[in-house]
């Protein structure tokens, strides 16, 4: 992990991870190709068309898969060429990766616990947690935004729009 000269925040920037973009492109391409393979198998096994003039339920998806496959292979090819130094190389910077991961987990957590906790408790808890994970350390700000957000959700969604929440 490297340190970045970005110390303009009250909470110092925690540094960043630098990953060659070509590596990420290759990895993304391989994942897309794997999903496409599953997609093609599924499309191939869809019922055949009722008449000869139609392409059937699987026809269009197969065309999409071919086009996307060509584009993905091209992306991988270009990424390999870049990685081998035949073209300009670029990096992808992942700043505060630990905190991004924590917030991603918090987002999953708020979706999973939404029904159990109920909307107000869930919004209050997770908005506070997201703020803290995002670098906010002023307790009044954290409480103020959480309470304000809950009040906003109650007034707008529950009272004005009559949304029934768990």
């Amino acid at each position: 992990m490297e340190n970045e000269a970005l110390n303009k925040g009250e909470e110092p920037v925690q540094g960043y991870v630098r990953i060659p973009l070509s590596i990420l492109e290759i990895a993304t391409g391989v994942i897309v190709l794997a999903i496409l393979s599953w997609y093609v198998v599924q499309a191939y096994h869809l019922p055949k068309p009722f008449n000869s003039t139609d392409v059937g339920a699987g026809g269009f998806p197969l065309l999409v898969a071919i086009g996307t496959g060509i584009a993905t292979i091209s992306m991988i090819g270009l990424a390999v060429a870049r990685h081998m130094g035949k073209m300009g190389q670029a990096d992808s910077r992942w700043r505060r990766p630990l905190f991004v991961l924590i917030v991603a987990l918090l987002l999953v957590g708020q979706a999973v616990t939404f029904e159990t906790l109920g909307v107000y408790l869930c919004v209050a808890l997770f908005s506070a947690a997201i703020m803290v994970a995002a670098g906010e350390r002023r307790i009044l700000h954290v409480l103020g935004v959480s309470i304000g957000l809950v009040a906003f959700v109650y007034v707008v969604f529950a009272l004005a729009l009559n949304v029934v929440f768990p």
């Binding site: 303009k8 925040g9 009250e10 973009l21 990420l24 492109e25 897309v32 997609y39 599924q42 499309a43 869809l46 000869s52 003039t53 139609d54 392409v55 059937g56 339920a57 699987g58 026809g59 269009f60 998806p61 898969a65 086009g67 996307t68 584009a71 993905t72 992306m75 270009l78 073209m87 992808s92 992942w94 700043r95 505060r96 905190f99 991004v100 917030v103 991603a104 987002l107 999953v108 708020q110 979706a111 939404f114 909307v119 869930c122 919004v123 997770f126 908005s127 997201i130 995002a134 670098g135 350390r137 700000h141 935004v145 959480s146 957000l149 959700v153 969604f157 729009l161 949304v163 029934v164």
Partner: protein, 501 residues
């Protein structure tokens, strides 16, 4: 047309429509003034607030937000050299130097007024082009519609920032996602792992995930940033309307350019402002002042990027093809209300397009007033801490996704797409083609299959109609030209490195 237009204006007899206009403008300014948040995210976040509202009330708020967000980016561009939206980058080139010269007030006044004029002029163009275009599109058959959708997608991919190949991958992902659910022709379930997916992926949670939730993770990357001091609003009182009149040529030219560029899917407000800026510099009597504080530069950029809003509405309303990511999000909002944009919109739901025309005009003085009255406040918006914005966006997205169907499934979809959107943006895969393909996918497939059935399974239908051929050639060119440009650039770079090549 006149009768429908009058009925569009009469919608403003309802105080709720006014409320929606003012609320949309306020939120638009707020979103536009915060660097990093754009009109697409704003419209996506506003959709949950439109559930249960009258379609006319909803659409007025969304259009107001779109226009105000495009302008809002200029305020921070001028005062703190931090464009709130990409379309305001060209505004900062001259707006910020003007601020440094103590003329921030003058730059703000010109930018707000020329933005308003840009919208006003382009709305007029919209009225006179969208209606005939929709009437012309009524003659389209399935072949033409398939080709049209392909043109829309290819232009978005071809004109998108970054790699065309990645744009094509994104388009493929979007089209593949569009095929999830029951096959519209045979009712066969496709790629649907659960019953909830039989109706396809819910559009609003996908939009909220890709645009709003992914932005939350980017805000976490930023952390808490230091406050930026805004420039004083100098020149506010000394500026006169005579000065504005001297800009009439630049403003009119930029508005026309902005509208035309806005129509082209994928081009959008940013390209419009850059081109209008370049043209203004070329035709100016004082080109040397551009980049150092030229008021013409500010006027050109702002008139063009706001005119592009109306331009992007033209293919949306007349053809059902979104011209920008924001209008793609807007399609989602209309679909929730049971309204399908396209040529039939003008006969089935004329109140929608004509209220949009009316709201663009009526919205101009409202937008100018809000912009002028709150200029100082909008500049402070950029100082709202990132963590607070992240928490608010995450909270509203969560509640909005749940409220879209009243079940947990959309919440899970939104969360998954939020994380996916973040990862894709990290690999520099553009999100706009995914959204556009998701929106247009069903229309493309339906018309492709209808065309084949009409022609008894022959592909002849795609090369016998001149219009279809022209559209398909445009699509091919949109894909091919950036690739040719890339190869030529590489060859030039290789020659520069080694002249013997």
């Amino acid at each position: 047309m006149i009768e429908n237009l009058l009925s569009g204006f009469s919608a403003f007899g309802d105080p709720l429509v006014w409320l929606s206009l003012v609320f949309g403008s306020l939120v638009g300014y707020l979103i536009g003034a915060i660097p990093g948040l754009g009109p697409s995210l704003g419209v996506a976040l506003l959709i949950p607030f439109t559930y249960g509202l009258d379609p006319v009330v909803s659409i007025v708020g969304l259009v107001a937000l779109y226009a105000a967000a495009e302008y809002g980016g200029a305020i921070t561009a001028i005062l703190i050299n931090s464009p709130g939206t990409s379309a305001a980058v060209a505004t900062a080139w001259d707006g910020y130097p003007l601020s440094q010269q103590g003329k921030a007030g003058e730059a703000l006044l010109v930018s707000i007024v020329t933005s308003g004029i840009g919208i006003f002029i382009s709305a007029l163009f919209l009225l006179f082009t969208a209606v005939p275009l929709s009437e012309f599109a009524l003659r389209f058959g399935p072949g033409e519609y398939f080709a049209l959708a392909l043109v829309g997608l290819s232009l978005v991919v071809g004109l998108a920032e970054g790699s065309v190949v990645k744009g094509a991958v994104a388009m493929g992902i979007g089209l593949a996602l569009a095929t999830v659910g029951l096959d519209t022709q045979t009712g066969t379930p496709r790629f649907a792992a659960s019953v909830e997916l039989f109706e396809g992926l819910p559009l609003v949670p996908v939009l909220l995930g890709l645009y709003a939730l992914s932005e939350v993770l980017f805000l976490v990357e930023e952390g808490v940033t230091a406050k930026i001091k805004s420039a004083p609003l100098g020149g506010w009182r000394t500026w006169n309307w005579k000065g504005l009149w001297s800009l009439n040529g630049v403003v009119f030219r930029s508005s026309v350019l902005g509208y035309i560029i806005g129509i082209i899917p994928g081009a959008g407000a940013s390209i419009a402002s850059f081109i209008a800026y370049a043209v203004a510099k070329k035709t100016s009597k004082t080109p040397e002042r551009f980049g150092k504080g030229s008021i013409e530069g500010v006027a050109a950029s702002e008139a063009a990027n706001n005119a592009a809003v109306s331009g992007a509405m033209a293919p949306l309303l007349a053809l059902g093809i979104p011209g920008s990511p924001t209008t793609a999000v807007m399609i989602g909002a209309l679909m929730i209300q049971g309204i399908q944009p396209g040529p039939l919109l003008f006969s089935r739901n004329p109140e929608i397009p004509y209220t949009i025309f009316a709201s663009l005009w009526i919205g101009v003085p409202v937008m100018v007033f809000i912009g002028l009255a709150g200029a100082r406040a909008w500049a402070h918006v950029a100082n709202i801490p990132g963590p607070a914005i992240a928490a608010i966006v995450a909270g509203i997205s969560l509640v909005g996704a749940y409220a879209s169907e009243g079940t947990m499934f959309p919440v899970y979809v939104m969360t998954a797409f939020g994380i996916l959107g973040y990862l894709l943006r990290k690999v520099q895969v553009p999100l706009a083609p995914i959204i556009l393909a998701l929106v247009l996918g069903e229309m493309m497939e339906t018309n492709f299959r209808r065309a084949l059935i009409t022609s008894h399974g022959s592909l002849e239908i795609f090369y016998t109609s001149p219009l279809t051929v022209a559209l398909l050639l445009t699509a091919i060119l949109a894909f091919a030209l950036p690739a040719v440009g890339f190869i030529r650039k590489r060859r030039r770079a290789a020659m520069a490195a080694d002249p013997s090549v």
